[in-house]
Symmetry: C2
Subunit: 193 residues, 2 copies
């Protein structure tokens, strides 16, 4: 249910084709809400059919092929704003890492160690990406943000950047907490075996 709002949010920056959306997505809202393109293309169509986006056919290649360029409609913006104003509902976390951690006694100690080492690797890599993106937001070099700011009054810029970076601060803090937890896990394993 959130994917559609992630897509609208992305497209408020500027109109994009499906492919552009699916690429940009990975480097911006995608950090916040992951989705593969097999989900993105159909959802874009659905949003168009519901009138939240317009889809303009743009010629592509030689034959009568076209690609679709999507833009947010007034109805789309309204729906997004409405979602942003809706009350919070509790969120069920569902992270296999905790499940595996709880039952690490079932695993082969070597495999458990390998597992934690790759977890550590994943978290470290993600931290790098998140911090780099956060920096690009803060100095306004992030392309999606830059496009968005262009259509907006200068006085608002600070406020918008503050919220965008705030979201990344949360993800970074979580990532750091997870990383520390994984390191504790490695120590725990070492102490036990």
């Amino acid at each position: 249910m959130s994917l559609r709002y992630a897509l609208i949010a992305l497209l408020t920056g500027r109109p994009m084709t499906g492919y552009e959306v699916s690429k940009r997505f990975g480097a911006s809202v995608g950090h916040v809400w992951h989705a593969p393109d097999s989900q993105i293309y159909p959802e874009l169509r659905r949003l168009e059919s519901e009138g939240l986006l317009t889809g303009e056919d743009v010629p592509w290649g030689t034959k009568a092929r076209t690609k679709t360029r999507y833009a947010v409609t007034a109805a789309g913006e309204a729906a997004f704003r409405e979602w942003m104003n809706s009350p919070a509902s509790p969120h069920h976390s569902r992270d296999p890492a905790y499940l595996r951690a709880a039952y690490l006694d079932w695993a082969d100690p070597m495999k458990a160690r390998q597992y934690l080492l790759s977890q550590k690797q994943f978290h470290t890599e993600r931290l790098v990406v998140l911090e780099a993106t956060r920096a690009m937001l803060a100095d306004r070099t992030h392309p999606v943000l830059a496009a968005r700011l262009e259509s907006i009054d200068e006085a608002e810029h600070e406020r918008i950047i503050a919220f965008r970076t705030y979201a990344y601060d949360g993800m970074i803090a979580r990532e750091r907490a997870d990383l520390k937890w994984v390191e504790d896990g490695l120590r725990l394993l070492a102490a036990n075996d």
Copy 2:
């Protein structure tokens, strides 16, 4: 894909009926991997048909009604152990909270504040539950854990408890990080409006 292993993990403690599973689930593995009973019952059946669980029909009530008591088979334990030994794959976080946070400039400031206040409430409540459960694991009063320990050599107990509490430590640390983040959000809102 993790639900089945959460169910097997729960049932290694002792055999349970579907209803017992769905109740105990919420108070143990369910913290780690949430699932509604509409998912639990069919998955139990599937696991039975795959031979990872046995389902014994137990009479219930007057007429020829029965309920099913499930127990883990050797194949089930093997499958669980195999899963525990499989390599890690990166996990895509998908938390609507970050999406909303990033675009808080679209929300009505009052609504945004209300939203963050309920988020704070959710995190606080969950923290209480997690810490209480962690304590029950540490002092061995947690019923699912206690049942599991009974069938296991005393020398292993410490190690098992260490991993179970370790998982909760991770969830608690994440919850604390999130809570702090929400509080930062409230301050950010207050500063901006």
